[in-house]
C-alpha cells in the first residue's frame, strides 16, 4: 500500500462527546478475497464505508472491475473474508433481503422487456408489494423521466435506460448503493448528466455508496474517500484528494 493507505485504512467513525463511536459502519469488508480456478481476482480487501459516505473504488481497465462490488451484495461468493451490513455478517441474511438492502446499478442498464413502469415495479413486486403509481411517477420525475411510465424500454436511449435502471434500484429503498461504472457505457454528455443525477440523489437521501470507476476524475468529483485496487489488491485508500494526489 502507498503512504496514504499506511495510515488508518478507513475513515474513523464520528464520535460522541464521550468518545465512543456513534455508529457502526453501514458496510464493512474484512479480508475479502476471491479466487477463480486458482487465480486471485480480489485479494484481501478490508474497508469500511460509513453512513452517508461515498467510497470510490478505482480499478484500472481490464482488472476485474466488478469483482469487488459483486462480493459486496453476494452475487459472487468470497473464498475468504466476510462482509458486514450494519455490523451483521451478511451470510446471516437471506440473499434476497441482503440484495434489497444493498442495491446495485450495473454498468449496462439490463432493462426487462416491457414498459418503464413495469421495470420500476420489479423490485417491490418481488417482495409481494405493489408500488403505488404516485411513487413510480415520483421516482421517474427524480431521474428526469417524467411521463415515461408507459414507454417501451426498447425505445429508450442509453442515458434514459440507465436512468430507469437507477430509479428501479431506488424503488427498493436500499440502504447502500453499489454503482458499477454506471456511466461508462454512455456518451460524454449523458455520462455527465447521469453522474450529476446520482450525486444529487445520494446526497439528498444521505445514502451510503460504493462506486467502481476507472476514471480518477469521476472519483474526484463524486467520492469522499477513494480506494485504488491493482491486480485485485488494495494499494491505496484514504480521502479522495490525498489518494489521487499521491496516485
Amino acid at each position: 500500500m502507498s503512504e496514504t493507505s499506511s495510515k488508518e485504512s478507513t475513515v474513523k467513525p464520528q464520535r460522541s462527546d464521550e468518545g465512543s463511536p456513534v455508529s457502526t459502519p453501514a458496510l464493512e469488508a474484512e479480508h475479502l478475497s476471491r479466487a477463480v480456478v486458482g487465480k486471485v481476482i480480489t485479494n484481501n480487501i478490508s474497508v469500511q464505508v460509513h453512513v452517508g459516505e461515498i467510497l470510490a473504488v478505482v480499478v484500472p481497465s481490464g482488472s476485474g472491475k466488478s469483482s469487488f462490488l459483486r462480493l459486496l451484495n453476494r452475487l459472487d461468493e468470497p473464498t475468504n473474508g466476510v462482509v458486514r451490513l450494519r455490523g451483521q455478517d451478511y451470510r446471516e441474511l437471506a440473499p434476497e433481503e441482503l440484495r434489497r438492502r444493498v442495491g446495485m446499478v450495473m454498468q449496462s442498464a439490463y432493462l426487462f422487456p416491457g414498459t418503464v413502469a413495469e421495470n420500476i415495479k420489479y423490485g417491490p413486486s418481488q417482495q409481494g408489494s405493489s408500488l403505488p403509481v404516485e411513487q413510480i411517477a415520483a421516482l421517474l420525475q427524480r431521474v428526469g423521466l417524467s411521463g415515461y411510465q408507459k414507454r417501451d424500454v426498447s425505445n429508450l436511449s442509453g442515458g434514459e435506460a440507465q436512468r430507469v435502471s437507477i430509479a428501479r434500484t431506488l424503488a427498493n429503498a436500499p440502504e447502500v448503493l453499489l454503482l458499477d461504472e454506471p456511466t461508462s457505457a454512455l456518451d460524454e454528455e449523458s455520462a455527465r448528466e447521469v453522474e450529476d443525477l446520482l450525486l444529487d440523489i445520494i446526497r439528498e437521501r444521505q445514502m451510503t455508496c460504493v462506486i467502481v470507476t476507472h476514471n480518477n476524475a469521476q472519483a474526484g468529483r463524486l467520492a469522499d474517500r477513494t480506494m485504488i485496487i491493482e491486480d485485485g489488491k488494495p494499494v491505496a485508500v484514504g480521502p479522495t484528494s490525498e489518494v489521487l494526489k499521491n496516485g
Binding site: R74, T79, G81, G103, M106, F112
Partner: protein, 277 residues
C-alpha cells in the same frame, strides 16, 4: 435359441442385402457432401456401423427373449432409459450430476406413460409389444430432455445480465429464470406438437404401417398410432419439464448466485464455494 435360429432365415439374408443398398446410398450422399467440402465421412461410417450393430443386437435380444415376462421387459426398458440418460446428459456437462437429471426426467416421462398404456390395455405386457413401443417413448423423452436442457442452458448463458439484475433487485432465483423455463419446455414440446399435427397428412408412422402390413384394421391402426403419438407428446412434456426444473435448481448456488455463466461451470463454482470460510 430355437427362436433365434428360426429368425436366421432367408429374410435375414435379404434384409442384409437391402441394408447394404441403404448403406451404399448413404455413402453416395457422403461423397456428394464431400464435393461441397462438407466432411461427414468418419461420423457417417461410425453412425451407420453403430446403427446396424445395435439394431441387429436388438433383434437377437428380442428373438432370445420373445416370450419374456413383464420383469424382463421392464429391465430392458430400464437399460434403455439409462442409455438414453447417458446420451442426453452430454448436452449439459456444465451442471452438477447431469446424468441423474436426465435419468430422472426420462424415467419420469416414460414410466408414467407406459404405466397408463398398460393400465388402459393399449399395450399388452408381451415383451415384443412393450419393448418396441416403450423404446419409442423413451427415445422421444430423451430428445425432449436434451432439447429442454440445451435451450435452457443457451437462454441462461445468453441472459446472464438480466438474470443477475433480477437477483440484484432481490428476486428469488426461480423468478429470474421463469421466462427461460417456459421457452425450454415449449421448445422441447414443439417437435412433438408438430408431429401430432402432421399425423396422417405428412407421415404415416412405422407402428401404423407395421399393423397395416400385418393385416390389422386400418381404422384401429390409425387410432392406435394416434394414441402412441399422443403418449409420446405426454412423455416428452413430462421429461422436458422435469429436466428443466431439475436444471433450474442446479444453476443457482444455495446463496442464490447464478453458477451457470459463460466460462464458469457449476462444478467449478461448487469448488469455489467449498473454499469459502
Amino acid at each position: 435359441m430355437a427362436e433365434l435360429l428360426n429368425s436366421l432365415d432367408r429374410n435375414v439374408v435379404l434384409g442384409m442385402a437391402q441394408a447394404a443398398a441403404a448403406i451404399a446410398l448413404c455413402f453416395g450422399v457422403v461423397m456428394l457432401c464431400r464435393r461441397f467440402a462438407v466432411h461427414v465421412e468418419r461420423e457417417t461410417v461410425i453412425s451407420l456401423a453403430r446403427g446396424l450393430v445395435q439394431m441387429v443386437a436388438v433383434g437377437v435380444v428380442l428373438a432370445l427373449l420373445l416370450h419374456g415376462n413383464l420383469l424382463i421387459a421392464s429391465l430392458i426398458l430400464l437399460a434403455m432409459a439409462c442409455a438414453a440418460a447417458v446420451t442426453a446428459s452430454r448436452r449439459a456437462p456444465e451442471i452438477k450430476n447431469p446424468l441423474l437429471v436426465c435419468f430422472y426426467a426420462i424415467a419420469a416421462g416414460s414410466s408414467v406413460v407406459i404405466a397408463v398404456l398398460l393400465a388402459t390395455k393399449t399395450l399388452t405386457t408381451d415383451l415384443v409389444v412393450l419393448v418396441p413401443v416403450g423404446s419409442m417413448i423413451i427415445a422421444n423423452a430423451m430428445n425432449a430432455c436434451a432439447q429442454a436442457m440445451e435451450r435452457f442452458k443457451a437462454d441462461v448463458t445468453d441472459h446472464v445480465g438480466l438474470i443477475e439484475t433480477g437477483l440484484a433487485l432481490g428476486a428469488e432465483p426461480t423468478a429470474t429464470v421463469a421466462p427461460y423455463v417456459q421457452t425450454a419446455v415449449y421448445a422441447s414440446l414443439l417437435p412433438r406438437l408438430d408431429m401430432l399435427k402432421s399425423l396422417g397428412f405428412v407421415w404415416i408412422p412405422g407402428v401404423m404401417a407395421g399393423m397395416l402390413v400385418s393385416g390389422a384394421s386400418p381404422i384401429y391402426a390409425g387410432i392406435f398410432q394416434f394414441i402412441v403419438v399422443a403418449m409420446i407428446l405426454a412423455a416428452s412434456g413430462i421429461a422436458g419439464l422435469v429436466a428443466t426444473l431439475l436444471m433450474r435448481a442446479r444453476v443457482f448456488s444455495t446463496a442464490a448466485q447464478l453458477t451457470l455463466r459463460p466460462g464458469i461451470s457449476e462444478s467449478q463454482h461448487s469448488r469455489e464455494t467449498n473454499l469459502a470460510v
